[in-house]
Amino acid sequence: MKLGRVVGTVVSTINAPDFDNRTLLLCDLLDPSGRPAGGYLIAVDTVGAGAGETVLILDEGNSARQVLNAPGAPIRTLVVGIVDAVVEGPAAV
């Protein structure tokens, strides 16, 4: 999975049927310290993520179809979590 930041939305009325009623989020990819890592992905929202939030992005088709329970859907990129914190180095206990 990848870290990203929601920077916008993509609106589409003409799309493959599996995208009906799904929210598409434009996400910049981040490195672990929260800086842009270069590049972006359009991801289907599954958690209600909003503007400016740091999110967990799944970019693998089989897992994405399992999460959506949509076998056969042409979808591989999902927002699957909202990140509270990323700790680099030994985790605090």
Binding site: V7, S12, A16, L41, G61, A73, P74
Partner: protein, 94 residues
């Protein structure tokens, strides 16, 4: 998925089985500011309505073939939606 601009069409008479009737378009991938990035690609049109000049989003890899009526076709990039609007959030412009 990524954004792209449709910049042309491809006509091929001799194709692998399963590609009959599949519309092939030349696309230029875009960054999120809608500036061209990377090389041009040939993508199958899974929405049947995309045409030159249109802003679209496409899916790559195995999922591209899933967008086609027969999911066992040799397709590795497919246009899965036509973009009406891309809203960038205030303060996030590149």
């Amino acid at each position: 998925m990524q954004l792209a601009r449709v910049i042309g069409t491809v006509v091929a008479t001799v194709k692998a089985p399963g590609l009959e009737g599949v519309k092939l378009l030349v696309i230029q991938p875009l960054d999120r500011s809608l500036k061209p990035t990377g090389g041009q690609l040939v993508a199958a049109d899974a929405v049947h309505m995309a045409g030159p000049g249109e802003l679209v989003y496409f899916v790559a890899a195995r999922e591209a073939a899933q967008a086609m009526p027969d999911p066992f076709v040799p397709v590795d990039h497919a246009i899965v939606g036509i973009v009406d609007a891309v809203s960038a959030l205030a303060g996030n412009e590149q």
